[in-house]
């Protein structure tokens, strides 16, 4: 986590314009543009707000009003690895509350704070409690830089944040080796990073129904040809 922020370079300004050009009306690009600002500067900066406003012909207040509405936009820097612990009801009941308490205690931080970088740490970690992330069949769920870390326990969570701080490579349970938060934000801005082919098609829970159907030889009704014949 650096407190000094490099100013937006010409390449980034050009990319902000590219994003706006994807849409029939340029303002539609504002959310991905703000993701790009976070990728370039590590947070939503006043400079980034001005740059988006300039590209879109809006006032800084209009852009700021949008940036403050959405929880993924951060006005303070997060860690290289931003850890989310789901504490919505299902995950909380399944142990998310205990995981969140344990991680905060282990890192010595409160909600939405970044743990201090210690001597020898390769990376910084911040932690926040998150709402339902659409993986309830893998509860309790954590996210790191918006990649799934399924079926966690307090012990696995502590190991996870220790590994992240130590620079030990960690892979998502349903995705690639974790990239940095800034790299993730660039993908959300619409710039591919070539990692789509990493990780499995589906995690084990996603496949339970399909596996039962295969075992029992169940399927949807037959249709004959693909030309839309009536089924019997």
């Amino acid at each position: 986590m650096t407190e000094t922020t490099a100013s937006l370079d010409a390449k980034t300004i050009d990319e902000l314009k590219q994003i706006a050009a994807r849409y029939p009306q340029a303002r539609s690009g504002l959310l991905p543009m703000l993701h790009l600002v976070q990728s370039a500067q590590g947070r939503i900066t006043p400079e980034g707000i001005d740059a988006c406003a300039e590209v879109l012909g809006l006032s800084a207040a209009e852009v700021s009003g949008v940036a403050t509405f959405y929880t993924m936009y951060k006005r303070r820097p997060v860690g290289d690895f931003h850890v989310g612990v789901c504490t919505n009801t299902l995950c909380a009941v399944m142990g998310g509350d205990q995981i969140f308490e344990r991680v905060k205690q282990h890192l010595g931080v409160g909600n939405d704070e970044t743990a201090e970088r210690r001597d020898g740490d390769a990376a910084t970690v911040s932690v926040e409690h998150i709402e339902c992330n659409a993986a309830c069949d893998y509860a309790p769920v954590m996210m790191v830089n918006w990649e799934f870390m399924d079926n966690q326990t307090p012990e696995s969570a502590v190991q996870l944040v220790d590994d992240l701080r130590a620079g030990t490579p960690v892979s998502s349970t349903r995705g690639p080796k974790l990239c940095s938060w800034r790299e993730a934000e660039r993908v959300l801005a619409g710039f591919e990073d070539g990692l789509a082919d990493e990780g499995p098609a589906a995690g084990p829970a996603s496949l339970v129904g399909l596996e039962i159907a295969r075992e029992k030889n169940w399927s949807a009704p037959a249709t004959g040809e693909a030309e839309g014949q009536r089924s019997e």
Binding site: L34, C136, A139, A201, V208, L210, I212, A226, S231
Partner: protein, 438 residues
């Protein structure tokens, strides 16, 4: 009993790629439609199939499409609601991760039907790998000529943009989603006008859930009769049921509408060992709670509605007897308070008051008489929220409160007289009873 259609290719080698999808017959429906079907034919097929919206409300999809005025000179848009955020709901994310091309093919067919030349997939931002898979699938589809100018020589053009949101439950509400997609704060709009008349950029727009759109290729490929041969009288076709919580086998189960929770639980080996069902949601946290009384109720739109709840997104969150219903409801209510966009006073203020009341009840430092009054106050607060705002977020916030008081009034009262919560939260965890945890 199970009918994998959407989930059928999820275990295929590299199922997310164009090559794998086409090997399984993918994009066959698109070629057929462009060669043989007029746009109105596709609308008719979807109408005849009986497909109803899979995002929660259950509105007939073909009818929604037919509301798009075709005589206006304005461009038409298709927007896919991939902002899956309703607590408990976890079907669209695995679908887009395992088979993004099913959705892309559905987008092209649906856009063709409503005569849109521009479509968007609005996916929540908090699912990075799903965003990657969608981006790649769209790029592959362009390269294969499934998207772009003159698709397969038909003279039909379509541009498709993958758009990542930025963290706001309310953007799953269709008009808030449109405001967000226009680069604004995601706040719902007053209807009418409905999006079909004045949606994105005040132009005719269809907003459909991922699973609805992903069902379209199978309907075009196999026919409306095939689709409607599954399901119940008014709830046609197959859907994905998502089982989570205190069950042996949480996960995705694709079945015809009308399967019961008992049947689904039996398939997955039942509740976790030594425990019994206490309460569950049929379709996410915005749908009123149900209990063991409802185990044999067909999970279709009509039966769940008749039981006083809603089918919603078939997000079956299952809680056993170790779970405190007051804790569960308070946590959901805190979520709604946090996610209320602030536009309408009854929802913004009301969800705040619900949290205050529930917190006092959970803490339990009230006499029994005060507690009874507080429960009445809670119901009164719900009455001042339900149906009084632009969108259904506030309505959803009241669902678990009123239904939990209906079924578990005594459990609220058991917190009172200074007792606090009588439950041990450690007993409800995934690792309860296993001594690995220190």
């Amino acid at each position: 009993m199970l009918t994998p259609v959407l989930t059928e290719n999820w275990d295929a080698e590299r199922s997310w790629t164009l090559a794998s999808y086409e090997q399984g017959g993918g994009y066959g429906a698109l070629r057929k439609a462009l060669a043989e079907l007029q746009p109105d034919d596709v609308i008719t097929m979807v109408k005849d199939s009986g497909l109803r919206g899979r995002g929660g409300a259950g509105f007939p999809t073909g009818m929604k499409w037919s509301f798009i005025p075709q005589d206006l000179p304005k461009p038409k848009y298709l927007v896919v609601n991939a902002d899956e955020s309703e607590p408990g709901t976890c079907k669209d994310i695995p679908l887009m991760m395992a088979s993004p091309h099913t959705l892309v093919e559905g987008v092209i067919l649906s856009s063709y039907a409503i005569r849109a030349n521009h479509a968007f997939i609005y996916v929540r931002g908090e699912v990075l790998h799903v965003v990657r898979r969608l981006q790649q699938a769209v790029r592959e589809a362009y390269a294969a000529g499934h998207l772009g100018k003159g698709i397969h020589g038909s003279g039909y053009d379509l541009e498709l943009v993958v758009h990542a949101g930025a963290g706001a439950y309310i953007c799953g509400e269709e008009t808030a989603l449109l405001d967000s997609l226009e680069g604004r704060r995601g706040q719902p709009r007053l209807r009418p006008p409905f999006p079909a008349v004045a949606g994105l950029y005040a132009s005719p727009t269809v907003v459909n859930n991922v699973e609805s759109i992903a069902s379209v290729p199978s309907i075009v490929a196999h026919g409306a009769d095939w689709f409607s041969s599954m399901g119940t009288e008014k709830s046609k076709g197959y859907v994905i049921y998502s089982l989570s919580g205190h069950v042996k086998k949480p996960g995705q189960y694709e079945a015809p509408l009308g399967i019961t929770l008992r049947e689904l639980l039996d398939l997955g080996g039942g509740m976790r060992e030594g425990h019994e069902l206490k309460f569950w949601t049929p379709g996410g946290s915005s749908t009123p709670l149900l209990t063991h009384e409802h185990l044999d109720m067909p999970l279709d739109y009509e039966a769940v509605g008749a039981a006083g709840s809603m089918l919603g997104t078939r997000a079956l969150q299952i809680f056993d007897e170790t779970t405190c219903v007051v804790r569960a409801v308070l946590r959901w209510t805190e979520f709604y308070k946090h996610e209320s966009c602030g536009k309408c006073t009854p929802c913004r203020e009301g969800t705040w008051w619900l949290v205050q009341s529930l917190t006092r009840l959970e803490r339990g430092d009230l006499t029994r008489a005060e507690g009874e009054q507080m429960l009445d106050l809670l119901l009164d607060q719900c009455d001042h929220i339900l149906g009084r705002s632009f969108c259904a977020l506030g309505d959803g916030a009241t669902s678990s409160v009123t239904s939990s008081i209906q079924y578990f009034r005594d459990e609220y009262l058991s917190h009172l007289d200074g007792g606090g919560c009588p439950f041990d939260p450690a007993a409800s965890t995934a690792w309860a009873g296993q001594e690995v945890h220190q």
